[in-house]
């Protein structure tokens, strides 16, 4: 059975975290959960006493043959990725890092996935289990360390993207995968429309594409798989070689936006069905956007009116999120408002799992 050597930083702080939560619960005082504090720009500001997860740190279990790793929420994401890379494995969803202090807990709570997402799956797709401290200060375990598990409700995956509003994540178990044997990145100069058409054709074939982004007049592609298929696809598709560092910059939102974009304007993330054509927004040409996920995720810097943008996205079957700067949130309502029935059940769920409203109140929506 494989576990790993502990590092000097490893520490189980779950009992002191639970005690803080019991206190907050008794006093009815809200808590603002913070890890590496690199994702504050994603969500609404929270008024509450700071509860840091940074002391609760370390990989508690890793068995590369089982493809399973368990890690405490305050562990730096970079540390986890390094542990996996040593064994030739990875988190397939390529989470954005936003800085070296980014933690695993923050990654799961915000639920953001990187360039490989449409082909490999999202954060929640790779979560096998969680430990969560509930509103009574009791650490509970849901899911587990096995690939298939349907005992009880899937509260583990529910925690992904819930931004800490339903409980404090203390440990997460992930399915991990081997790093592909061969990788090649390339750049093809094409118009946005041509890129869309090619991606639609390629998408119906079993090609080893693992990232596809249109930006600044060119389609950027990453091929991953066995050496034979990557070489064959590379020969067939053509294009110029591209430095693989492009994907790291894209993943961490560190790429420069197209020159005609407005750099000081708020950053928007549009999530759309991947065959969605241009949205035909006035004064906002699609060429000013970064089209990631083969068109299913578009990044935009714009002063466009939120309702205009959201309405266009809704009509296309998607939604729009406003991200602030690293310094703070960029909008009073960063996430697309929920329809009334859905909002009702969100409030019910919040009230049941956090009856005193102590966990990150208002982080997702003002109503809960």
């Amino acid at each position: 059975m494989a576990t790993i050597a502990t590092t000097p930083h490893d520490h189980d702080a779950s009992e002191s975290l639970a005690e803080r939560i019991r206190q907050a619960s008794a006093e009815g005082t809200p808590l603002r959960i913070v890890g590496g504090d690199t994702r504050g720009f994603y969500g609404r500001p929270v008024e509450g006493a700071k509860l840091s997860t940074l002391e609760h740190r370390g990989v508690t279990f890793y068995d590369p043959v089982e493809l399973v790793v368990s890690v405490r929420s305050g562990t730096p994401l970079a540390e986890l990725e390094a542990v996996l890379a040593e064994q030739g494995q990875m988190l397939p969803f390529e989470p954005p890092r936003f800085g070296i202090s980014s933690t695993v807990g923050g990654m799961v709570a915000t639920g953001m996935s990187g360039p490989r997402r449409p082909w490999a799956g999202s954060v929640r797709d790779f979560v096998l289990g969680t430990r969560v401290i509930n509103h009574e200060g009791i650490e509970q375990r849901f899911g587990g360390q096995v690939m298939k598990n349907v005992a009880g409700y899937d509260l583990s995956r529910l925690m992904v993207g819930a931004q800490g509003t339903l409980g404090l994540l203390t440990e997460i178990s992930f399915k991990v995968l081997p790093i592909p044997g061969a990788v090649h990145s390339l750049r093809i100069e094409v118009s946005l429309e041509q890129a869309r058409n090619r991606l639609a054709d390629w998408g119906r074939e079993p090609l080893p594409i693992s990232a596809a982004t249109w930006l600044d007049g060119a389609l950027h592609l990453r091929l991953e798989g066995g050496p034979s298929s990557v070489a064959a696809t590379r020969a067939r598709i053509g294009g110029d070689d591209l430095d693989g560092g492009f994907w790291n910059a894209l993943r961490d939102l560190a790429l420069a936006f197209p020159a005609n974009g407005n750099d000081d304007a708020p950053l928007w993330r549009l999530s759309l069905p991947h065959r969605t054509p241009s949205l035909a927004l006035s004064n906002t040409p699609e060429e000013t956007m970064i089209h990631d996920w083969a068109g299913a995720q578009r990044w935009l810097k714009s002063d466009i009116d939120a309702e205009t943008l959201r309405s266009a996205c809704r009509q296309a079957g998607g939604h729009a999120t406003c991200l602030g700067s690293r310094e703070g949130p960029g909008s009073a309502e960063p996430f697309t408002p929920l329809p009334s029935v859905l909002l009702k059940y969100h409030r019910n769920l919040k009230a049941e799992l956090d009856p005193k409203g102590i966990f990150n109140p208002g982080r997702l929506y003002a109503a809960f």
Binding site: D63, P64, V65, E66, L67, G111, R117, G121, R124, D125, N134, E136, Q140, F142, G144, Q145, V146, M147, K148, N149, V150, A151, G152, Y153, R157, L158, V160, G161, A162, L177, P178, G181, A200, R204, P208, G225, G226, P227, S228, S229, A232, S271, P273, H274, R275, W293, A296, G317, H319, T321, P339, V341, L342, Y345, H346, N348, A351, L353, L364, Y365
Partner: protein
């Protein structure tokens, strides 16, 4: 400890006037097919776990969403429990009816609403059969990945309710990984959409929560699934071993070599002989275990991987390795595996299929434990194992006509599940808890964790009208379960409970 509804442990059943409820439903819902005569109710008295049967109070077979909505509103108003059912192939009693409830059968919602080959999605009604989706997508070179062994018959609504798996999960995921959107009616008859046609949706991931929720949070009325391009090629290697443990180690060695097979299945000798006798798949009947390893993808990569896997299997001590020569032989190799349950069924008047998942490294210990238990109870057990993802299907052979033997089979099954929990696994990988594993939930979860499950349920169905009694045991039931366990604990060799 019996799994059947017991008012002492599971709560009082509502006192309902069948005739009055029938009148209310008939009045509220024009054109609704509502069965009430005993002879009409019998075909619905059980699901795939047919040893347990209950006659439902009423069976509703709606044909329109408006009828479903009205039915839910009416039942909610009158306090009538509702059990939703699709094809009824589930193996955990998840669609077992209630004598004091309405069985809501969605089998008439069987239309494929849309196949969009460009978006690579299919939008379907809940009564559509799993395999029918892949058949409809096939002309476009696409398919729907999850393939439970019952895929010819099982419907997609039930797949969502149970988060169904299959033999390709390690690489392609479970139902939850392949459904992108569902339309839901709540118990109050409200409509909501979970997920979206995009790759995510704002708010909580309720789509994940509803997958595998066993019809206890809402009624799923439409499902959008993603379709995948068919792999260019798929090849199967069959390896035989003279020792089960060697086969188990070979599985780990394949994955350690950096290969994720499309399918990786293991069968023990009893299962091999049963399948060979039934299908004639060409299995080596003398082997202690066989592994079926399917590699799929682009031709060149698959050939490379086949060579690697062959080397790994040889090093792991395989006594024979055979690669299917063509698609026909590949299909035959799989036919043996996919028909393993009915094949074992031919060896015995009855069989009982278990569904625990374990960390693969514990395989040898668990198989030894099962073999000991099998001897102790005097019942044969055949083992079929989704080796890639650790999901075991021990099949307990018994004869329900021999007095007491069903009880013994159940008790043995319960022990096997508790063993799975003890080694860090789970009581159910893909069949669901339903009514069948209601007691073992008390072994896998602590009372406070079960209370959190009940809280999640209360957010959607505070009156507990949707499929009551399934999935999450009551505190009273678990308290009794623990009393029995602590009495047993005085006897050595009994379960130590879950590791913390």
């Amino acid at each position: 400890m019996n799994i059947l509804y017991d008012e002492r442990l599971d709560g009082m059943k509502p006192q309902l006037d069948k005739a009055a409820i029938r009148d209310s439903l008939v009045q509220a819902i024009p054109g609704l097919t509502l069965l009430h005569r005993e002879e009409d109710l019998h075909p619905f008295e059980c699901d795939g776990l047919s040893v347990y049967r209950t006659l439902p109070m009423l069976v509703a077979l709606p044909e329109t969403l408006a009828q479903v909505e009205q039915l839910l509103k009416t039942c909610h108003r009158l306090g009538v429990p509702v059990v939703t059912r699709g094809a009824g192939t589930g193996l955990s009693g998840g669609a077992m009816p209630l004598e004091h409830g309405v069985l809501l059968v969605l089998s008439r919602f069987s239309r494929i609403l849309e196949i969009d080959p460009e978006a690579r999605i299919a939008r379907v009604e809940p009564g559509v059969r799993n395999l029918a989706i892949s058949e409809a997508a096939s002309p476009h070179g696409l398919y729907y990945a999850p393939d439970p062994s019952s895929q010819i018959a099982c419907s997609i609504g039930g797949n969502v309710a149970e988060n169904a798996g299959g033999v390709h999960c390690l690489k392609y995921g479970l139902t939850v990984h392949n459904v992108i959107k569902v339309e839901v009616l709540t118990i109050e008859g409200e409509h909501m959409t979970l997920g979206s046609d995009a790759l995510d949706a704002p708010g909580f991931d309720l789509l994940a929560l509803f997958n595998g929720s066993e019809g206890m949070l809402g009624v799923v009325t439409e499902i959008t699934v993603k379709l995948l391009p068919k792999p260019e090629t798929a090849k199967v290697l069959m390896a035989s071993f003279d020792d089960v443990e060697k086969a188990g180690n070979a599985v780990g060695a394949i994955i350690a070599a950096g290969i994720i097979p499309g399918g990786l299945e293991m069968m023990d000798n009893l299962a091999i002989r049963a399948a060979e006798d039934f299908i004639g798949a060409g299995y080596p009947v003398e082997a202690a275990a066989i592994l079926l390893c399917e590699l799929d993808g682009v031709e060149a990569d698959v050939d490379d991987d086949c060579a690697t896997v062959r080397r790994v299997l040889e090093a792991a001590g395989a006594t024979g390795i055979q690669q299917a020569r063509d698609d026909a032989e590949r299909a035959l190799f799989w036919a043996g595996r996919k028909n393993a349950f009915p094949a074992v069924g031919r060896m015995s008047p009855d069989y009982y299929c278990m569904d625990g998942t374990i960390p693969r490294r514990e395989l040898a210990r668990v198989l030894k434990g099962i073999s000991d238990l099998s001897e102790q109870y005097g019942l044969r057990v055949a083992n079929v194992f989704h080796a890639g993802d650790g999901n075991m299907h021990p099949l307990i052979l018994f004869d329900a006509n021999t007095p007491g033997e069903l009880d013994e089979a159940e008790a043995l099954g319960g022990k096997i599940l508790e063993l799975c929990v003890e080694v860090g696994g789970t009581i159910t990988g893909e069949h669901g808890v339903g009514r069948e594993k209601i007691n073992q939930m008390c072994a896998q979860f602590r009372p406070d964790e079960l209370a959190t499950f009940r809280a999640a349920k209360a957010a959607f169905d505070p009156k507990e009208l949707l499929n009551p009694g399934k999935n999450i045991p009551t505190p009273a039931r678990c308290s009794e379960f623990r009393t029995i366990k602590s009495a047993e604990a005085a006897v050595p060799t009994h379960s130590q409970g879950r590791p913390e």
